[in-house]
């Protein structure tokens, strides 16, 4: 009952936002401020276009490539830094430094220094890696010492300690890290693709073309598509781990 009320309130809230958007767009040209309807029409034409599927596949593929490329070293370095304080301190410094560099600086440096075709993936790697590493490292450092003591008393094997204490403790940190990293990854990937205009079939390139054509409705339509894709993957991560929890 309470959940239904919440769902109704969310729908009302979204409807109110669309209404405000519509009212604000009244009397303005779509070039300056497109109405929700115009964005919807543009969205339909984007989805029907031949470049839609390859653009989405290329961008999502690049997002996953950079995510996987960042996740594996983040996990390995997170584990190493749990047991070697020196590595932990070095990594704190390195990730802190990367985090502090403005994303646009990373993009511009990568465009000048790296092979063009891989640039968006490498840019995303540098943006996503600190997020994943920090979450994994913190998760491992926050494993309940009292449970580890209990495991020592009852003579748990190392594999049992890992599977029954470390992995479950880390789960919530991995979920949180993966969710924020993936959301960030989509945003940075599209930005990098806008700057790195060599492949026309990417979401960033499509947005860039709309910008040249001064097609604000088209840009908003693609932005909406990115939001939906990002939300779907966020939901998938949540569902994947929820299922795992039930199986334990």
């Amino acid at each position: 009952m309470k959940k239904n009320v919440h769902n109704i309130l969310i729908v009302v809230f979204i409807a109110a936002l669309i209404l405000i958007w519509h009212v604000l767009s009244l009397g303005r040209k779509s070039l300056i401020f497109p109405s929700p309807y115009e964005v919807l029409v543009s969205l339909y034409s984007v989805i029907k276009s031949q470049s839609f599927v390859p653009s989405v596949i290329n961008t999502v593929g690049s997002v996953f490539l950079s995510f996987a490329a960042a996740f594996i070293p983040a996990l390995i370095l997170g584990i190493i830094s749990r047991f070697i304080t020196f590595i932990y301190r070095i990594m704190e410094m390195v990730t802190g430094f990367i985090r502090a560099i403005p994303t646009v600086a990373i993009i511009l440096m990568a465009l000048l220094l790296l092979p063009v075709s891989y640039t968006p993936v490498i840019i995303c790697y540098f943006v996503v890696f600190p997020v994943l590493y920090t979450n994994i490292s913190e998760g491992l450092r926050n494993v309940d010492e009292k449970l580890l003591e209990m495991a020592r008393i009852y003579k748990f094997s190392n594999s049992k300690i890992i599977s029954s204490i470390y992995i479950p403790s880390l789960k919530s940190y991995i979920i949180a890290g993966s969710r924020s990293a993936l959301g960030l990854n989509f945003k940075v990937m599209v930005t990098a693709e806008v700057f790195n205009f060599i492949n026309h079939n990417t979401i960033g390139a499509q947005m860039y073309m709309r910008k040249i054509q001064i097609d604000l409705a088209g840009i908003m339509a693609w932005a909406l598509i990115v939001v939906v894709i990002s939300a779907v993957f966020d939901l998938l991560i949540k569902m994947l781990f929820r299922e795992k929890v039930r199986n334990d």
Partner: protein, 235 residues
Amino acid sequence: MIRLTNIKKSFNNTVVLDNIDMQFEKGTITAILGPSGCGKTTLLRIAAGLIKADSGEITGVDGRNLSFLFQEPRLLPWKNAWKNLEIVLPDALDIRIKRKMCFEMLELVGLKGYENHMPSELSGGMCQRLAMARAFIIQTDILLMDEPFQSLDLKRRGQMIELFRLLWVKQRPLVIMVTHDVQEALLLSDKIYILSDKPTGIIKEIYNPMSFEERSVKNERLYELEKEIISNYII
């Protein structure tokens, strides 16, 4: 038999334990009684091998099956009640046997019907009973208890003491119990070491005049002894 000889331990140049000599016989329950913060828990953790003494010797613990009832239950929050028991059983045991053992133990501690409940779905008293079930489900040689009933209300504390007595007579492991509750020490233990405040040393070693079966809160002799200990050594 476990023997602690000349155990010394300091934290930040403060001597906590000073030349402690203790002896714990097989099949007996020994209470270590002392004021809060006197180093009782430190002593127990040294005996368990969780921390190292600065000097001294511990014999009789290595190679023996050990259980520990902590102040808090220390259950795995992502495992249900029976899985929290199953995890301490030897890996080589067949899962059906392990399941049967766990379910029987849960019934014994009054948690029948809660086998698939997660610790977060159980009350504090139930979690402590589950922790006690975990301590006894393995054929334990030595059981160490660090004020396990402290957080419970009077009624539940009484129930837990009765449950402990029921489980203990089945296996009769060597028990070392840390407490600051004189009545609890007298009800359960055969021998009591009374410790002084820091730097902690043994001020008295008392043997319980009542047998395990005779001990009860209503026993006059035990009540007199309790008053004597409180007036002579605790206050």
